[in-house]
Amino acid sequence: MRVALFVTCLVDLMRPRIGFAAIELLEAAGCEVEVPASQTCCGQPAWNSGDHAAAAALAKKVIAEFEGSAYVVVPSGSCADHIRNEYPKILSSDADAEWHARAVALASRVYELTDFLVNVAHLETLPGKFAGSVTYHDSCAGLRSLGIKDQPRALLGKLPDVELKEMKAAEECCGFGGTFSVKFGDISAAIAARKCTNACATGAQVIVGGDLGCLLNIEGKLRRMGDQTTRVMHIAEVLVAKE
C-alpha cells in the first residue's frame, strides 16, 4: 500500500521526530511511504484568519502535490480535517468546478494517522514498547469533525505496559485554536490551565495527543505552571518509543 505523508508545518519546524515516528508506524503496517519534498503548509491558518485567496492558493498546491497518491496520511486531526472537509469548501464548485472536483477527489483519501493505522492499514503489531501511565487529550477537529476517539486508544491498548488514565473533560478544547493562541494569549493560556489541571489530576506520567498545536500549548502551560516532570508526547512518538 503506497501512502504519502503530509508532515504538517508544525511537525516540520518543531518536532521532526513525530514525522519519522509516523513513517515508522506506516512501514510497520506494511505501507510504502513517500514524502513529497515540496510540501509546506495546508493553509489552515489563512482560512481560519479569513484570507480566502491565500487559503485557496495553498489548497491547490497541496492537491497538486498529493492527488497522485492512493492515500494521504497526516499526523494531525486538525490538518487532516482541513484538507478533507474544508478544501472542497475553499475551492467551491461555483468558483471553479475543475478544482472543486480535484479537492473532492483528494478529500476521501486523506486520513488522520491513528484513523489510518486502525481502520485502513489494520496495524497489528507496534514497533515500540513504551511503558508508563498516559492520559489522552482529544483534539477538537479530530474528535468532532473526523470522529477520532477510539483509534488512538485502541493503539495504546496494544502496548501491554501502558496504563491509560482518562482525564476529566478530555474532549474539551485546550485553548490553542491556532492564531487564537497568539491573538488572545491570556484567554488561551487560562483555558490551557484547566486542561493541564485535569490532565495532571490523573497522575499520568505522560499527556498524549494527536495534534502538535495542542501539545505545544499544553506543554508550554505546564512548564509555566512549574511542572517540569509531566511529559507531553504525540501519539506517534509513544507508539514507536523503545523505552
Binding site: V7, C9, V11, D12, L13, M14, R15, P16, R17, G19, F20, V35, A37, S38, T40, C41, G43, P45, A46, W47, N48, S49, G50, D51, H52, A54, A57, L58, C140, R144, S145, E172, C173, G175, F176, G177, G178, T179, F180, S181, V182, K183, F184, G185, D186, I187, S188, A189, A190, I191, A192, A193, R194, N217, E219, G220, K221, R223, R224, Q228
Partner: protein
C-alpha cells in the same frame, strides 16, 4: 444597548482578573453542561429531533415575509395589534406611545433581550413610566444601577450569593440574609405589589405561532404569567425571526429548548398566550400589542449568515464555550455573549464595531455540536473573519504577516530557508532549556505560558539528509 464590544480584549482581561467571576463561572459551567448532558439522553432520537427542529426553523426563515403576514393576520383576528419596529429607537417609541395611550404609570417586565437591545428601561423612565423588572435575575441587575445581563437565560450568573445578599440589604433596607430561599421570598414580597399595581406588562416571546397568532413563553419563576395576565395592557417584543408555523412545531421545539438551556425536561411554566381578554374570561389583558423587531435581522435573511436566524436562544453554545467559560458574558460587550453573540453583535451593530469578536473563538466546534437547531457557528465565525479581511478591517500588521507567510509557503525552497533560520533562532532562544519563557515574535503566546523548544532542525532537512545517505 450601547456596544462595548470593541473593548473586548480589555473586558476579557478584567474578567480574568476578577476572582468572584472566575469562581462563579466554574460552578455555573458544571451545572449547565452536566444537566444538559443528562437531559438530552431522555430523548429517543436527539439527533433526529435536532434535524426536525432545524427544518421547522428553516421552513419559516426561507419564506419569512409570508409567515410574518400570516402571524399578523391571525394575531389581529384575536384582537391583538401588530406593530413593526425597524430599530431600537422605534421599539422605544412604540412602547412609550402605547404607555401614553393607555395612561400607564408603571410597567412590569418579564425577561426580554429585545428590551436590552433597545435600552427600553431608559426610554420608559425618560417618558415618566416606571419599569420594574420581575425576573429575579433581571430585578437584581436593575437594582444594581441597571447593570447589563451577562447571560441570555441566567442574567446574573456572574454574581455570587454574597453580592446579592449585600445588594438586597442595601436596597430593601432589610436585615442581611444569605439563605437563597429567604432572598427569593424577600424579592417576591417586594415584587408582588408591583404586579398588582402595574398598568402594563412587557414580555419577550420565545416563539410566535403563526397558525394561532399566539406567543409562547418559556419561564421558570412564574413572573411571566403575572406580567402577561394581570395588567390591562400586554406588550410583547420579539425579533421577526421568532415565528414558527404551528403549535405542533412548538411541541417539538419545546423538547429541545429547556433541555438545551437549563437541562430541564420541561421548564416550570410554558405559556401560550392568544388574543385579548374575552368577555367570558376572568383574566388577561384588555389590550395586546406585538412589536416585531428588525434591528438588523432583515439584512441577515438570505445572506451567508442566514442560518444564524434559526437560533432559539437556549444559551447552550455559550455554556459549552471554553472562551465564555473563561471570561463570562460581559466581556463580549453587547446583549448576546458567547459564540452566538460573537456572530450577532457584528451582524446587528456593525462589523467594524466588533472586530475582535469573530476571532474570540478557538473554533473547537463544541457550540456547533450542542446547538439544538444545528447552526454551524464556527463556520459563521470564520465567514465573518473573511468579511473583515475583504473589508480591510483587520490590523495592518496581521494582514501583512499573513500575506508574507502565505507567499513564502507557496515557494518550497524559500519556505525551507525560512524555516531553517526560524528553527535555529528558536533553538538559540531556548538556550539549552526545554522551553522559551518569552517569545518576542509572538508576545501574546508567552503572556501565560512558555513556548516549548524545537528539536533544532527541520523535518525536511533531516529527511533529505537521510534519503541522501540511503
Amino acid at each position: 444597548m450601547e456596544t462595548r464590544a470593541r473593548h473586548f480584549k480589555a473586558n476579557a482581561a478584567a474578567a480574568l482578573a476578577n476572582p468572584v467571576l472566575q469562581a462563579n463561572l466554574k460552578t455555573s459551567k458544571s451545572k449547565f453542561v452536566d444537566k444538559r448532558a443528562i437531559a438530552i439522553q431522555e430523548l429517543d432520537d436527539f439527533e433526529g429531533t435536532r434535524e426536525a427542529a432545524k427544518n421547522i426553523r428553516d421552513r419559516v426563515l426561507n419564506n419569512l415575509d409570508l409567515w410574518l403576514e400570516k402571524f399578523e393576520e391571525t394575531a389581529t383576528a384575536r384582537g391583538a395589534t401588530v406593530l413593526w419596529a425597524k430599530d431600537s429607537a422605534e421599539i422605544c417609541r412604540h412602547v412609550v406611545d402605547i404607555g401614553r395611550r393607555h395612561n400607564v404609570k408603571k410597567a412590569a417586565k418579564s425577561k426580554s433581550m429585545l428590551s436590552e437591545e433597545a435600552s427600553l428601561n431608559r426610554a420608559l423612565e425618560a417618558a415618566g413610566i416606571q419599569p420594574v423588572e420581575t425576573d429575579l435575575g433581571e430585578y437584581i441587575l436593575q437594582i444594581n444601577d441597571n447593570e447589563a445581563p451577562s447571560h441570555i437565560i441566567a442574567p446574573v450568573v456572574h454574581k455570587s450569593l454574597d453580592e446579592v445578599a449585600d445588594l438586597f440589604h442595601a436596597t430593601h433596607k432589610t436585615p442581611r440574609k444569605t439563605e437563597i430561599s429567604a432572598l427569593t421570598r424577600e424579592a417576591r414580597e417586594v415584587l408582588r405589589p408591583h404586579f398588582l399595581s402595574a398598568d402594563m406588562g412587557i414580555s419577550g416571546g420565545n416563539f410566535l405561532v403563526a397558525e394561532t397568532g399566539s406567543v409562547a413563553l418559556v419561564t421558570n419563576e412564574g413572573n411571566g404569567r403575572m406580567v402577561t395576565t394581570l395588567p390591562r395592557v400586554h406588550v410583547v417584543i420579539t425579533g421577526i425571526e421568532k415565528v414558527i408555523p404551528t403549535l405542533e412545531d412548538l411541541a417539538l421545539l419545546m423538547r429541545l429548548l429547556p433541555r438545551s438551556a437549563t437541562g430541564q425536561s420541561i421548564s416550570n411554566y410554558v405559556s401560550v398566550l392568544t388574543g385579548v381578554k374575552q368577555p367570558e374570561e376572568s383574566d388577561g389583558p384588555e389590550h395586546l400589542y406585538f412589536i416585531l423587531v428588525d434591528n438588523g435581522r432583515a439584512d441577515v435573511v438570505g445572506s451567508e449568515f442566514h442560518d444564524m436566524l434559526r437560533c432559539i436562544r437556549c444559551g447552550a453554545c455559550m455554556n459549552h464555550c471554553p472562551v465564555y467559560q473563561t471570561i463570562g458574558g460581559h466581556a463580549y460587550g453587547w446583549v448576546y455573549p458567547g459564540p452566538m453573540g460573537a456572530i450577532l453583535t457584528p451582524l446587528y451593530t456593525g462589523l467594524e464595531n466588533a472586530i475582535d469578536l469573530p476571532h474570540a473563538s478557538t473554533l473547537c466546534n463544541q457550540c456547533g455540536v450542542v446547538c439544538p437547531v444545528k447552526i454551524p457557528l464556527p463556520e459563521l465565525l470564520r465567514k465573518l473573519r473573511e468579511k473583515q479581511v475583504d473589508g480591510n478591517l483587520r490590523p495592518l500588521f496581521e494582514r501583512l504577516a499573513l500575506k508574507a507567510w502565505a507567499w513564502v509557503a507557496g515557494y518550497p525552497m524559500l519556505y525551507g530557508m525560512a524555516t531553517w533560520f526560524g528553527v535555529r533562532y528558536l533553538k538559540w532562544l531556548a538556550d539549552g532549556k526545554s522551553s522559551i519563557p518569552i517569545l518576542g515574535a509572538a508576545p501574546e503566546w508567552s503572556v501565560g505560558r512558555n513556548f516549548p523548544a524545537p528539536e533544532g532542525k527541520t523535518f525536511r532537512e533531516m529527511y533529505a539528509k537521510k534519503k541522501g545517505k540511503q
